[in-house]
């Protein structure tokens, strides 16, 4: 009840407009309803904690920060309204949001109103290809994953691999990214084909690969097929490592394959919130867990936190107008210490470097971060 009362108070304050007490408003656009409501709630909690900590420490140069949350419903059409709403509450900058299509629907509005936006979960390539000067993202782009997969293959020392996708746009896209990168790194691709997702029997494709004797299999599809392949390779007595993309980062893979067959499976994925290194991140995560009884469900809430941190830094150093923030983020923010590692943005607004880490499933069926 207290929370509702607080919300109503907040709403009334929002109406009071700029005539009220001096404060810096930062918007958060996140999906509080719809399919991704869980992600949105984590994002909101994460940023609320950060704002609390920040204001307890005196805000930005003594000016308190207020977070204004708008629900985008995980849907482009309501995102349009959420963005208009935030622009109207005169926020200095906006963090969010999760889905790529949702972000895309809001980009134009923020650009027109000259509000800096830092997205935290939108990985579609073209978002940063539009040359909006005020658009940034703390997550990496879809095409960065291909590099991470290729890097993992070369790092693990495989010289001869089979490359398998499933013709879905995600898996095929990733395979198309990976192929030239592997070839450039001198890795021989002995087999390159698609399987049909949803089948129960992949023995034909496995037999074919076996005759070509690759040192490893790179599978860019989803976890159900990865699990089936692992199981059937085990049944056929062929043991070579498989490396997958982040669509196989799902505990169900162990159930499908069985613990024994799943052991030794590698995949590339952004780190989970529990695997973050860095003292500050660990401390904050512990605080979060103590307060809400659980960690955020995925890394994306943490990336929203990174976006907020970068904004606070930019506003502290350069002031709170559009030009100042965007130019600071583009040019002056270098190696800034974020929760997920160093943050810097390139000329397009993409985060420099990538987030992907290599994981391996151990004998217990646990996902272990590889150093």
């Amino acid at each position: 009840m207290k929370k509702i009362a607080a919300m109503i108070m907040l709403a009334l304050l929002a109406w009071a407009g700029p005539g009220g007490a001096q404060e810096i408003k930062i918007g958060l656009m996140c999906p509080l309803t719809g399919d991704w409501a869980q992600e949105g709630r984590d994002m909101q909690r994460f940023l609320e904690m950060q704002v609390e900590d920040l204001n307890a420490a005196g805000g930005i140069k003594g000016i308190p920060v207020r977070l204004i949350v708008a629900d985008d419903g995980g849907n482009p059409r309501s995102a349009n309204l959420a963005a208009q709403r935030l622009v109207e509450s005169q926020v200095a900058a906006v963090v969010g949001t999760y889905g790529s299509a949702v972000t895309e629907a809001s980009q134009g509005i923020y650009d027109e109103a000259k509000v800096v936006q830092i997205a935290n979960g939108s990985t579609a390539i073209r978002l940063t290809e539009k040359h909006f000067t005020g658009f940034f993202r703390t997550c990496t782009r879809d095409d960065f994953q291909g590099r991470a997969v290729a890097r993992a293959v070369t790092r693990l020392g495989f010289r001869k691999v089979a490359l398998v996708h499933d013709n879905s746009s995600y898996a095929k896209g990733l395979a198309v990214e990976v192929e030239p990168l592997l070839q450039a790194a001198g890795v021989e691709i002995v087999y390159y084909d698609a399987l049909t997702p949803g089948e129960r029997d992949y023995s034909t494709i496995i037999t074919k690969m076996k005759t070509l004797s690759p040192e490893a299999v790179v599978f860019t599809g989803y976890y159900p097929e990865a699990g089936m392949i692992l199981r059937q390779m085990q049944e056929m007595g062929w043991k070579v490592p498989i490396i997958g993309g982040d669509a196989t980062n799902n505990l169900t893979i162990v159930e499908i394959a069985g613990r024994e067959a799943a052991a030794g499976y590698y995949f590339i994925s952004p780190p989970g919130p529990q695997d973050l290194s860095g003292e500050e991140a660990k401390a904050f995560m512990a605080e979060y867990e103590a307060k809400y009884g659980q960690m955020p469900g995925s890394i994306f809430a943490v990336l929203a936190g990174d976006a907020f941190k970068a904004l606070v830094k930019a506003i502290t150093e350069a002031g709170s107008d559009y030009e100042a923030i965007s130019s600071y983020l583009h040019n002056d923010l270098k190696n800034f210490d974020g929760f997920t590692g160093p943050i810097a943005f390139d000329a397009k607004g993409d985060r420099v470097g990538d987030l992907f880490r290599l994981y391996r499933i151990d004998g217990e069926g646990k996902f272990v971060l590889q150093p």
């Binding site: 509702i4 709403a11 849907n75 889905g99 299509a101 895309e104 134009g108």
Partner: protein
């Protein structure tokens, strides 16, 4: 004179928003307008013909993608593609509705849910390499009317509510036409309608195709407003919302449907300040309405036909058969 007052008042009220509203509220009104036009076209199928169709977003999607593909690949101006988008959606409706048109009630509902999901998944899977997969198609032009570029919320307000006005006029004529009456007979009793010589399958199919045609044209407006399109626009939930608008407002009653659009699309925005509670308030409102007004807020009233008047007119010019008899010797 008095009768003309309410429409004049409504017209005046419709002129006001662009002058007084902020961009946010204008866009809320635009969202309501888009929902309203889609709901009018769905009303033809659900309200007039009484077919439970919960896949209307699929037709809107076909229209939207038609515009998106034609505009980005061929450079056709957005508004020119509008009739084509409608035709593509109508043709698609003809193809998918023909085999299922005999299904009744819940069975039809299930199949239409299937249709909208199949369309969404096909779009996500980048069907024929045309739809751009999960990311959709970007870079769609703004519409131009005689060289005037429509891009501000206030411009779209005129475009959307102009189309809504045209829709209301056309659909209210349609409602009272031979076609509309036939659909109402089918809704009330399919068997009886067949009995009085109405080809119910053809009329039902006609309602589907026409409803889809209109939804396809709305697709054009939708993508030109967003300047991009992705499968996320056309989820099953969007179809459910449209269905709720029609049922809640009053199936078969255009005023009811308009009211429904204002409530279903507008209320969640009005409750935005309560953020966490807003879906709760919304859900509670829907449940209460269905308990206390199961026919919708403004239920469709049975048509008012003066039978005595009609008979008199029918009998008037005809010669009196008795007069002939009297002349017999």
């Amino acid at each position: 004179m008095i009768k003309a007052l309410p429409p004049a008042l409504v017209a005046f009220l419709l002129l006001l928003p662009p002058l007084v509203c902020s961009n946010y509220w204008l866009d809320v009104l635009n969202a309501i307008g888009v929902s309203a036009i889609l709901a009018f076209s769905l009303n033809l199928i659900v309200g007039q013909a009484g077919m439970f169709h919960m896949g209307h977003a699929a037709f809107c999607a076909v229209g939207a993608y038609t515009t998106a593909i034609m505009n980005t690949a061929l450079g056709t101006p957005v508004l020119w593609t509008m009739p084509l988008a409608g035709m593509a959606a109508g043709f698609f409706a003809l193809l998918v509705a023909r085999p299922i048109i005999h299904l009744r009630g819940d069975y039809l509902l299930l199949v239409t849910i299937g249709i909208v999901e199949i369309v969404r998944i096909a779009l996500t899977q980048d069907i024929f390499g045309l739809t751009g997969g999960a990311n959709g198609i970007a870079g769609i032009d703004r519409p131009y009317i005689f060289g005037f570029r429509i891009y501000k919320p206030s411009h779209f307000y005129w475009l959307i509510w102009g189309m809504a006005g045209v829709t209301i006029v056309l659909f209210s004529y349609l409602e009272r036409s031979r076609f509309g009456r036939a659909l109402n007979y089918i809704r009330e009793d399919n068997l009886a309608a067949d009995g009085i010589g109405i080809n119910s399958a053809a009329y039902k199919l006609g309602a589907f195709v026409l409803g889809a045609f209109w939804a396809g044209m709305v697709g054009t407006i939708l993508v030109s407003k967003m300047t991009f399109v992705s499968p996320a626009f056309f989820t099953f939930w969007e179809s459910v919302v449209l269905f709720v608008i029609v049922i809640l407002g009053g199936a078969g009653n255009l005023k009811g449907v308009l009211l429904g659009a204002f409530l279903v699309t507008g209320l969640p925005e009005a409750f935005r300040d309560f953020e966490g509670m807003r879906m709760f308030c919304y859900g509670a409102a829907v449940i209460l309405l269905m308990i206390f007004r199961p026919g919708g807020l403004l239920p469709s009233r049975p048509g008012d036909y003066n039978v005595a008047e009609f008979m008199k007119k029918l009998a008037g010019p005809a010669p009196n058969p008795r007069s002939g008899e009297d002349k017999r010797p």
